[in-house]
């Protein structure tokens, strides 16, 4: 028995179909803010294997970056905060994840400008959006493996 591996076009079409089948427009927009799967696939020209490869790298590496940001906040090390948040922002940007991208940008700005007010809220926001992104990426990976 052979298993048919869907090509890039069918993966893209499948993603588009799933989005179109979503009845609640608000949920759809919210999901795209966490992880815009269609846009992410288009960024890799429909190469799902490449997307899954960078998903694995991200799932493995992002806790390290989050830990660096937490350390920077605890030590009030602005330079480290700017650098770690900047790297995370660049990493997240590859997945078309605007919510986590915006949260990382906010912390990068705190590091660059040295503001204290709102830093904790920004950290909470980053943790929340990163968790949502990780879950969405794990779901994509598991769906593919199933």
């Amino acid at each position: 028995m052979t298993t048919r591996i869907p090509g890039p076009e069918s993966v893209l079409l499948g993603s588009c179909r799933r989005l179109c089948q979503t009845t609640d427009h608000g949920q759809e927009v919210e999901a795209a803010r966490v992880f815009d799967q269609v846009a992410a696939l288009m960024r890799v020209e429909g190469d799902i294997e490449l997307l899954l490869e960078i998903v694995e790298v991200f799932l493995e590496d992002s806790p390290r970056l989050m830990a660096r940001i937490r350390t920077a906040l605890e030590r009030q090390d602005l330079s480290l905060l700017e650098q770690a948040a900047h790297t995370l922002k660049g990493s997240v940007g590859n997945f078309c994840a605007p919510a986590a991208y915006a949260a990382a940008s906010k912390l990068e700005k705190f590091g660059r400008e040295g503001n204290v007010t709102g830093r904790q809220e920004a950290w909470n926001e980053l943790q929340e959006t990163m968790e949502q992104l990780r879950l969405a990426l794990m779901s994509l990976r598991d769906e593919r493996l199933a």
Partner: protein, 206 residues
């Protein structure tokens, strides 16, 4: 064409590497600024580099300055890649010596087009360098001809830079590419040729 990718974020590094390989480039990756800098200053330096702005050890603009400080036999085309998108950052990056700048997350088509621009620029620079070398070599030979060279006052032979005596015609031809034909000037005609002709053909009225 080999391209150096200097990027500390493993996700961006993997993605960039895969995309570049797909386009036919050979990729050399590194994660730290100092490592990227030593690659670019080494004897087998890639002729193109895509460098992240922020890297541990040494940032992208700092690497650009270091590379530009040292004269290269062949130029290196450097593209800065970063999530910093403010115009002041772009100016800082270009003034540091970067040839181009692209923001993250990178647009594939824009990156591909910029790499092609880089290849064209490198090709033009190489052709220009080859032409300059050719002109310098010619100029060098012309200078030798213009310089001081010893000539025998009796036979008019010239001593060349290998200490051989040669006819002035040979010397000039070798050093300038000029060719000689032969003729007789009016003074020599009167002094040498005419008396000989008169002796041989006394009946002629010369």
């Amino acid at each position: 064409m080999r391209v150096l990718v200097g990027e500390d974020d493993p996700v961006s590094r993997r993605l960039l590497g895969a995309v570049l390989r797909k386009w036919g480039y050979e990729v050399v990756s590194c994660t730290e600024g100092i490592e990227a800098c030593s690659h670019l200053l080494g004897p087998e330096a890639p002729k193109m580099a895509i460098l992240d702005w922020m890297m541990p050890g040494m940032d992208g603009p700092h690497i650009c300055r270091k590379v530009r400080e040292i004269p290269q036999s062949e130029p290196i085309y450097i593209i800065l890649l970063t999530a910093r998108g403010r115009s002041t950052d772009i100016v800082t990056g270009l003034e540091a010596g970067a040839d181009d700048y692209i923001t993250k997350p990178f647009d594939r088509e824009a990156l591909r087009a910029r790499l092609k621009t880089g290849l064209r620029t490198l090709e033009l620079q190489k052709r220009l360098a080859d032409r300059i070398a050719e002109l310098e070599s010619t100029l060098c030979r012309v200078k030798q001809l213009q310089g001081l060279f010893p000539m025998c006052p009796s036979c008019k032979k010239v001593r060349d830079d290998r200490n051989y005596w040669e006819q002035i015609e040979e010397y000039v031809t070798e050093h300038s590419g000029a060719q000689f034909s032969h003729s007789i000037c009016p003074a020599c005609y009167e002094r040498i040729v005419k008396p000989q002709l008169e002796e041989l053909y006394p009946e002629l009225d010369l």
